[in-house]
C-alpha cells in the first residue's frame, strides 16, 4: 500500500496551546482532526507537513447547542455523524443534516469533523492523484508544478470546492468563530472563502476554527440541500445546491439564499437567483428564471467526475428542484 510519510504528532492540551504550537512550528505544521482528508493526501504527497497538531481532543471544539442565545452553536470538532444524527439539526436545518450525512461513507463520517469538511481541500482530477501519477502527468500549479493542467492558460488554480456542508452554512448565514494568536474573531463564513483553487481560504494559517453559529434569524427558514454525484455514498459532490427561503403567511417569499458548491473554487452565493424570487409568490415561472440565473453563475470545468457540460446543465435542474421543494411545488 501507499506508505504514510513520517511526521511528528503534536497533541496540545488546549486550543490556545494548539494555536501556539502552530505558530511556533511554522509552515511545516498542519492541523489534524479526523484525518480523513489529510492522511490520504500525505500518502500521495499532496501535503508534506513535518508536524501535525492534533485538534481531536480539544474540549473547546466540542458541543452542539441548538438553541443558544445567538443561535445554534456547532463545535468544529464535532463529527459529521454527530451532525447528521442530531435531533434538533434534523428538525430545524434538515439541509445541514442532509449535507453532513451525504459526505463520503458512514465510517469516514465517524472520524471526519465539521471543521474538516468546511476547510476540505479543493479537488481536481489532476491533483488528487499519487505522486507517481502527478509526476507522469507533469505537476500542476496546485502542487509542485507551474501550470494548470485543466486550463493551461489559466493563471489561477481551478480545483473544485468540494464541501457539502459549507454551502448549507452559507445559505443559513452562519458565522465562523476563529481563534488565532491574536485571540478570537468572528466572521461571516462565506467571507472565509475565495475563488482560487490554491488560496481558497482567507483565514490565517495559524487560525483554528472553533465552531460555527447559525443565527437565530435562520430558524424557521425552509432549507434544503441537493447533491449531484454518481453514487449514493462515497462520492464528493460534482454539484451541490443549498437553498434557504422564508415565506410570509400569504406565501410571499421574504428571503432567499441559493448557494452552489463544486462549480468553482469556493461556495458560490447566487444573489441574482435569490433576487428573482424575493417579494413574489413563488411559482414555476419564477423558479425557472431563478434556476437560469443560477446556471449562468455555474462554471464547471473538466476536472471532476461527469461531463462538465452535463454538470452545468444540471445546475439549472437542481436549483429548480430545490426551489420547487421549498416553495411546496414538489415533494
Amino acid at each position: 500500500m501507499l506508505r504514510l510519510p513520517e511526521f511528528r504528532y503534536v497533541k496540545a492540551g488546549s486550543l490556545k496551546g494548539a494555536v501556539r504550537a502552530l505558530s511556533d512550528l511554522g509552515p511545516d505544521a498542519m492541523v489534524v482532526a479526523g484525518g480523513t482528508d489529510l492522511y490520504p493526501k500525505m500518502k500521495r504527497g499532496q501535503f508534506t507537513p513535518r508536524y501535525l497538531v492534533s485538534l481531536r481532543f480539544l474540549p473547546e471544539l466540542k458541543g452542539i447547542r441548538p438553541r443558544g442565545r445567538e443561535g445554534m452553536w456547532i463545535g468544529a470538532g464535532e463529527t459529521l455523524t454527530a451532525l447528521c444524527e442530531h435531533h434538533a439539526i434534523k428538525g430545524i436545518f434538515p439541509s445541514l443534516a442532509q449535507a453532513a450525512g451525504s459526505v463520503s461513507t458512514p465510517l469516514l463520517r465517524n472520524m471526519g469533523t465539521i471543521g474538516g469538511n468546511l476547510f476540505v481541500d479543493t479537488r481536481c482530477n489532476y491533483y488528487d492523484q499519487t505522486f507517481f501519477w502527478r509526476e507522469a502527468a507533469g505537476f500542476c500549479l496546485k502542487k509542485d508544478g507551474e501550470i494548470c493542467l485543466v486550463a493551461p492558460r489559466s493563471k489561477k488554480c481551478l480545483a473544485v470546492f468540494s464541501s457539502d456542508t459549507a454551502p448549507v452554512f452559507c445559505s443559513l448565514g452562519a458565522m465562523a468563530i476563529l481563534v488565532g494568536p491574536g485571540g478570537e474573531r468572528r466572521v461571516l463564513l462565506e467571507e472565509l472563502y475565495r475563488d482560487d483553487g490554491i488560496g481558497f481560504l482567507t483565514k490565517g494559517r495559524e487560525e483554528v476554527l472553533r465552531g460555527v453559529v447559525i443565527p437565530r434569524a435562520a430558524f424557521g427558514v425552509r432549507n434544503v440541500y441537493l447533491k449531484l454525484r454518481r453514487r449514493g455514498a462515497f462520492d464528493f459532490p460534482v454539484l451541490g445546491v443549498a437553498a434557504a427561503m422564508s415565506f410570509s403567511k400569504e406565501n410571499i417569499c421574504l428571503s432567499a439564499r441559493v448557494v452552489l458548491t463544486a462549480v468553482s473554487s469556493c461556495p458560490k452565493v447566487v444573489e441574482g437567483a435569490a433576487a428573482v424570487v424575493v417579494g413574489k409568490r413563488v411559482d414555476r415561472t419564477a423558479i425557472e428564471e431563478a434556476a437560469e440565473v443560477a446556471a449562468r453563475a455555474s462554471h464547471p470545468v473538466d476536472n471532476a467526475d461527469m461531463d462538465y457540460w452535463y454538470r452545468k446543465r444540471m445546475t439549472k435542474v437542481y436549483v429548480r428542484k430545490a426551489l420547487a421543494l421549498l416553495a411546496g411545488l414538489e415533494s
Partner: protein
C-alpha cells in the same frame, strides 16, 4: 429445486470456508509473514511509449536497507499466457509500452525503504509518440509500431470466418439492419490487490505464494523465465480475494519476487497498491462493433455479419482468445443459418486488456441483444416473441460447429416473463419508466487448454484415512466462487457422508494434481467430473470389502448416511469408517485418482478451438428502471434473472454467483470505465474515482434457477459464475429505450450520454475501415464425429 436421490447436491449449505472468512481466519497472500522477510516494490514507467536508453541502479543499491535491485537484464526471457504470443518481459528492457509498465524491482527491509530506493533508480527514456486508438493502431508504421514481432502495423491478430451461406441469407432476407456499437473497457476491481510472496530456500527450491487464479500456468511461466525446472518450483495459490479474470495469467510482480528471493535468499513479499492494479489491468477490452443482420418479415434471422475491433493495450495477454470470443458465441443462442465474423485486436499504449467475467462475450452480446430489440420494434413484434421463435434447440450443432447439449433458455424466458409481468408492462409503463429484456449463453469451461497438450484439464486425488476422513487433492483454486465447497460436496455426495468429513487440499503444485485454473467457468464441470471418477474408483474397492463383510452383492449396496448399506434392507449396514478399515486391511492404503478432459468438438477449422465447451449455460434477464427526464439519471428498480445452470449443487452458491454477476453487469452498464488521458495516462486509477456501484445502487434481484441435467456435467451441472452477467447489460439498454425512447449504443450509459441522446446530439459509433483477411469458410457437417458423454 429437484433433489432426486441426492443427499448433499441441491441443498442450501454454507460454504465450507464461510466461517473462516467471516472470522478473519482465512490467510490471504498479504497475511503471510516469514522471519527475515523483505519487501519488494516495482518501478513503473511514467511514459506510455518510450525507448529505454539506460537504467542506473547504483544509487538505489547503496541505500541502507536495500537488499537487491533488478532490471530487465536479470530477467531476459519473454513469457505470456498464450504460447503463440509470448511478448511480455517481467521488467521492460528496451521499451516501455504503457504508463505503469515495470522497469525495475527493489527488495528492501521495508516498503518505505523500497519506495525510497525506487526514487534513486535513474532511467533514461527516449519518449515515443503513443498510439491510443484502434484507428491509429491499424495504420501505425515506423516508430509507432509498439511491437516488432507482429506482421503489420499494431495488429496483433485479425480473423475472418464465414459459416453457412451468408450471401444467400442476406438475399433471402426481407429486411437488413446495420448498426454500430461501442463497449468501453473496464477493470475487475477485486477487493484484494495483487500480492505474492516468494522464498528460494537453501535446498535450491523456490516456493511462490500468490493470489492467482491459475497456479499451473504460473508454475510453467516461472520455470521458463527463471530457468529453474518445474520440479524445483512450488506454486501455492492463496485464497483469492476476488479475481474475476484479472489474476489468470503470470505477472511481472510474481516473477520479480521470485528472482529477488533467489538473489537475497530471503522471503520476499510484494503487495501492489490499488493504483498499480489499474495498470496491471487485463480487464474488459474496449470494443467497437458493427452488426448487419438479414431477417424475414416474421423476424426469422437469415444471416448475420459481425465485425469487432478490440483495443488490446500494450501486450497480448489472452487477446488471441478474446478476439475469437467476440465472434464465437453469437450462434449459440438463436438459430442462425449464415454467419460471417471478422475481428481484429490491436496494440495500443495502454495497460493490457485481458479476460474479465464473460471474456470477450459481453461486448457482442450487448450489441446483438440491443440490435434484436430494435429489429423487433421495426417489425412490430414483441422482442421476447422474436427470440422465442428461433431459440437454438438441444442436441444440435450450430452453424460454426459448436455442439449444444442441453438448453433451458425457453424455460428461463417463459418463467422470467411471467414473474416480471412482461406483457403487462412492456411499452405500457409511464414515460420515464421502462422494462427491457435480453438473453445469452456462456461456456462451462474452455474446450481446449491454453497450451496445446493431450493431458487432462483437471485431476483429483482422493485419500481415505482409517478414521473415515476423506481428503480430496486438486489443483483448483477457490477465488470466492466456492470451488473448494463444490469439491467437498461432490465427494460427500458420492461417499454418502457429511461435507464436514471431507477435507480439501487445493491449489498447491507440490501436493495436488493439475487443474488448469479458475477461468472460463470450468471448475465445477471439470473438477466435478474428475472427482466423481476418483470417488467411483475408490467406491469399487470399498464395495468389495463391504460385500464380503455383509455378504451382500456389491450391486445391492449403497453409500448413504455415513454407512455402506443394503439398498433393499437398509438395516444391514456397516459404518463408513468400518468399511474403510476393512478395505484397507484387504487392499492396503486407500487412494484413487480421477481426471477429466472435455469432449472433442465437432469443428476442425483453424480457429475452431475458441467457443467449444462441454456444455453451454443459458441466461435471460428482465430489467425495470426509471430515468429522470430532467437529469437523465438512471435508477434500476429491479432485475429478474433466470439462469440454466444444469444442476444447482448448492442453490445458495449459484444465487450468489448470479447476483454477483448482476451487480458487476450493472456497474459496466451504467458507470464503470477504464479511460485514459490524451497523454496515455489512466484517468482515474483509484477506488474513489473509478466509479463502481455501491450497495446503495444495487436493486432488488430475483433469481430463477433452471435445471436441465446436462449429460456432460457432474450430476448434470453447468456453469453459473459468468453467464448471468451477459444479458443484464443489454436488458438495461433496452429498458432505457422503453422508458424514454432513446437507444444508447455505447456502454457505459452515463447521464450525459442519455441527455445528449434525448436532444438528438449523441453521435453514432464510428467503426474503422479495415480490410480483413479473406475468410476461412466452413459448412456445418464438415467436422469430425463426436460422441455424447466424454
Amino acid at each position: 429445486m429437484s433433489r432426486q436421490g441426492f443427499s448433499i447436491i441441491g441443498k442450501a449449505l454454507p460454504k465450507i470456508d464461510a466461517m473462516a472468512k467471516c472470522t478473519g481466519e482465512t490467510r490471504y497472500a498479504d497475511d503471510l509473514h516469514f522471519s527475515r522477510m523483505v519487501y519488494a516494490k516495482l518501478l513503473r514507467s511514467p511514459h506510455p511509449h518510450a525507448l529505454i536508453r539506460a537504467i542506473r541502479t547504483e544509487r538505489a543499491l547503496s541505500l541502507e536497507g536495500v537488499y537487491a535491485v533488478i532490471t530487465g537484464r536479470d530477467l531476459p526471457v519473454r513469457y505470456g499466457i498464450s504460447p503463440a504470443t509470448e511478448d511480455e518481459e517481467a521488467l521492460a528492457s528496451e521499451k516501455v509500452r504503457f504508463v505503469g509498465d515495470p522497469v525495475a524491482g527493489v527488495a528492501a527491509a521495508s516498503e518505505t525503504v523500497a519506495e525510497k530506493a525506487l526514487g534513486l533508480i535513474d532511467v533514461d527514456y527516449e519518449p515515443l509518440r503513443p498510439v491510443l486508438s484502434v484507428e491509429e493502431a491499424l495504420v501505425a508504421e515506423g516508430e509507432l509500431r509498439i511491437h516488432s514481432w507482429n506482421r503489420r502495423a499494431n495488429i496483433q491478430k485479425a480473423v475472418s470466418f464465414e459459416f453457412g451461406d451468408v450471401e444467400q441469407g442476406f438475399e433471402q432476407a426481407d429486411h437488413i439492419f446495420d448498426e454500430t456499437f461501442f463497449y468501453e473497457g473496464n477493470t475487475h476491481l477485486p477487493m484484494e490487490q495483487y500480492c505474492a510472496v516468494a522464498f528460494y530456500g537453501p535446498d535450491g527450491k523456490l516456493t511462490l505464494w500468490s493470489s492467482t487464479q491459475t497456479p499451473h500456468y504460473l508454475h510453467r511461466a516461472l520455470s521458463k523465465v527463471l530457468g529453474l525446472p518445474m520440479s524445483r518450483i512450488r506454486v501455492i495459490a492463496t485464497p483469492v480475494g476476488g479475481g474475476f479474470g484479472g489474476k489468470s495469467e503470470p505477472f511481472s510482480h510474481e516473477i520479480c519476487v521470485a528472482k529477488l528471493s533467489m538473489i537475497t535468499g530471503r522471503p520476499v513479499k510484494i503487495t501492489l497498491t490499488r493504483e498499480e492494479c489499474f495498470y496491471v489491468h487485463r480487464g474488459r477490452h474496449p470494443v467497437k462493433m458493427r452488426i448487419k443482420t438479414g431477417v424475414k418479415s416474421d423476424g426469422t434471422l437469415q444471416a448475420m455479419h459481425f465485425q469487432s475491433f478490440l483495443d488490446g493495450g500494450g501486450y497480448s495477454s489472452y487477446g488471441l482468445a478474446t478476439v475469437y470470443y467476440t465472434g464465437a458465441l453469437q450462434t449459440v443462442v438463436y438459430k442462425l443459418p449464415g454467419y460471417k465474423f471478422e475481428g481484429v485486436r490491436v496494440f495500443t499504449n495502454k495497460p493490457p486488456c485481458g479476460p474479465k467475467r464473460g471474456h470477450g462475450t459481453p461486448q457482442p452480446r450487448f450489441a446483438v441483444e440491443v440490435h434484436l430489440d430494435a429489429i423487433a420494434e421495426k417489425l412490430g413484434m414483441d422482442p421476447i416473441e422474436l427470440r422465442l421463435k428461433q431459440l437454438v434447440e438441444p442436441n444440435t450443432v450450430t452453424v460454426n460447429g459448436l455442439r449444444i447439449t442441453t438448453t433451458g433458455l425457453r424455460e428461463c424466458i417463459e418463467r422470467l416473463a411471467a414473474k416480471a409481468e412482461w406483457k403487462k408492462k412492456f411499452r405500457q409503463l409511464p414515460y420515464g419508466q421502462g422494462i427491457g429484456f435480453a438473453s445469452s449463453a456462456y461456456i462451462s469451461g474452455a474446450g481446449l487448454p491454453i497450451y496445446w497438450n493431450d493431458m487432462p484439464h483437471s485431476g483429483v486425488q482422493i485419500k481415505l484415512d482409517r478414521g473415515g476422513g476423506i481428503t480430496a487433492f486438486c489443483g483448483s483454486i477457490d477465488i470466492g466462487q466456492g470451488s473448494d465447497s463444490i469439491l467437498a460436496y461432490v465427494v460427500a455426495e458420492e461417499f454418502g457422508v457429511d461435507p464436514a468429513d471431507v477435507r480439501v487440499v487445493t491449489a498447491d503444485t507440490d501436493l495436488t494434481p493439475v487443474d488448469l485454473g479458475s477461468y472460463s467457468s470450468r471448475v465445477t464441470v471439470m473438477t466435478g467430473n474428475a472427482a466423481i471418477q476418483a470417488c467411483r474408483k475408490l467406491k469399487d474397492t470399498l464395495l468389495r470389502a463391504a460385500a464380503d463383510a455383509l455378504e451382500i452383492p456389491a450391486d445391492d449396496l449403497e453409500f448413504a448416511e455415513g454407512k455402506v448399506r443394503c439398498r433393499s434392507f437398509r438395516d444391514r449396514a456397516i459404518s463408513f469408517v468400518e468399511c474403510v478399515q476393512k478395505a484397507e486391511a484387504k487392499f492396503g492404503t486407500l487412494g484413487a485418482m480421477g481426471s477429466y478432459r472435455p469432449p472433442k468438438h465437432p469443428a476442425n477449422y483453424r480457429g475452431s478451438g475458441v467457443g467449444p465447451t462441454p456444455a453451454y449455460s443459458y441466461s435471460a434477464s428482465i430489467v425495470e428502471l426509471r430515468c429522470d427526464a430532467d437529469s437523465a439519471e438512471v435508477k434500476v428498480d429491479k432485475v429478474w434473472i433466470a439462469h440454466d445452470c444444469g444442476r444447482a449443487f448448492n442453490p445458495l452458491l449459484v444465487e450468489g454467483q448470479v447476483e454477483g454477476s448482476v451487480y458487476m453487469a450493472l456497474g459496466e452498464a451504467l458507470m464503470e470505465e477504464q479511460v485514459f488521458r490524451k497523454s496515455g495516462l489512466h484517468k482515474l486509477p483509484s477506488m474513489l474515482d473509478y466509479k463502481s456501484p455501491t450497495a446503495l445502487e444495487m436493486p432488488e434481484v430475483e433469481t430463477i434457477l433452471v435445471e436441465t441435467n446436462d449429460p456432460e456435467g457432474p450430476f448434470g451441472a453447468k456453469e453459473a459464475g459468468q453467464g448471468p452477467l451477459l444479458p443484464v447489460i443489454p436488458a438495461v439498454t433496452n429498458a432505457l429505450y422503453d422508458a424514454i425512447g432513446v437507444r444508447i449504443h455505447e456502454i457505459p450509459i452515463t447521464p450525459d450520454k442519455v441527455l445528449r441522446a434525448l436532444e438528438g446530439r449523441l453521435k453514432p459509433v464510428s467503426v474503422p475501415s479495415f480490410e480483413f483477411p479473406p475468410p476461412i469458410r466452413w459448412q456445418p457437417g464438415e467436422g469430425v464425429e463426436v460422441q455424447q458423454k466424454s
